[in-house]
Symmetry: C2
Subunit: 240 residues, 2 copies
Amino acid sequence: MQRSLALTAVVCARTARALLQRPAPLRHSVKMASTTTLYDPTPFYAAAQPPETKDFCMQQTMVRVKDPATSLKFYIETLGFQLVMFRDFPQWGFSVYFVAHGLTGPVPADEDARWDFCMRTPGCIELTWNHGSEKSDGAVYNTGNADATGTKDGEAVKGGFGHLGITVPDVYEACERFKKLGCTFTKTPNSGGMKGLAFVKDPDGYLIEVLPQGPMITKPLDCDGVAAEGGDGYKDNSKA
Amino acid sequence: MQRSLALTAVVCARTARALLQRPAPLRHSVKMASTTTLYDPTPFYAAAQPPETKDFCMQQTMVRVKDPATSLKFYIETLGFQLVMFRDFPQWGFSVYFVAHGLTGPVPADEDARWDFCMRTPGCIELTWNHGSEKSDGAVYNTGNADATGTKDGEAVKGGFGHLGITVPDVYEACERFKKLGCTFTKTPNSGGMKGLAFVKDPDGYLIEVLPQGPMITKPLDCDGVAAEGGDGYKDNSKA
């Protein structure tokens, strides 16, 4: 599949994605070589939402950060999040900072209104700082995937958490900017098997996936100078 | 603080929250007993979003699940998420299922339109199934916090990932329903130090926080029969 994209300047998005998605979603009856039977969730598309849940909102993902100053600078100045609310709990030794994209209006100045506003904003990240962690040497927290940070034996963990993911109008342009701002990439858009998406690390090492808001396109060169036909393989490290 | 709420049927929400938040956000110059200086992010409220990032969208949080049938049933039927998109990648041995709240319209039937729709939906959860994991005995993945699952030495990890969090119109009503549906709670609304919020576990053990969309209220009894003045302490288990 990747070879077919190699020499094309900007591959027709729909074609590229159709290739990427191939084989098309298979049905329950299809047996895999590994004897795994694919699960077909198609009936859920037609499922009525339980009426009691109709106003529920996926409001937050909480991750702990070593140093809030560094993390907020990254999420706000590099990734374009906005600060929605913060709270200090000195009696319990932690503080939380909510950041989000796509706010429906200005953050209210009134504390109560700000709380309500935050609790109705989908997709916030709750950055949690346990006071004192900023004084630690090196990385503090296990970041999911096959990370060994935060273990007693130094061995990689079979992590469930994978990444946070943002979508952007143009992955290549966004990554050029991230590169200029000094981001660490674990995958530039043209490296690995899936072209047109990237992974950068946040200051604690959490992975941030960068995906397009529209069709998945491939450009001839990415921010690291990797050609569409080139790039080292990107390995999912989830199988510790 | 909790004692002051104990005998009140439904505590005035603003008062309760004001108490909960006390002390009010402290400023940079305030020194903690532990010598930690609180970080004051207030200037970020006034920060202009970098223009290149204005359309960025916090679109996804990816977590691995052992069995997609079980997980999708939980997220959709219990938590009220809707299936937005799924993709099978048998060549790479995994499938992904995107679920979200608050869709702006029906999920498009057309595959390309569905992709675009999904990539513009904030706060999706990307449930990732590595084919074959469903055949494992017991829990497969480390779920963050101080979990020992997925380690080689069986010791708790200093996990960075904390939880996903949903907001609901009424935490107590939502939890009554969750209880009837057989959810496992790690904190019912009246247990622990923070009244009016709860934590349930998803099928893999990931924590789901349940918070109100409006003011934080306390009711005299919760779904587990715990009185507002009662309840065992809920300990943050992040400090492995």
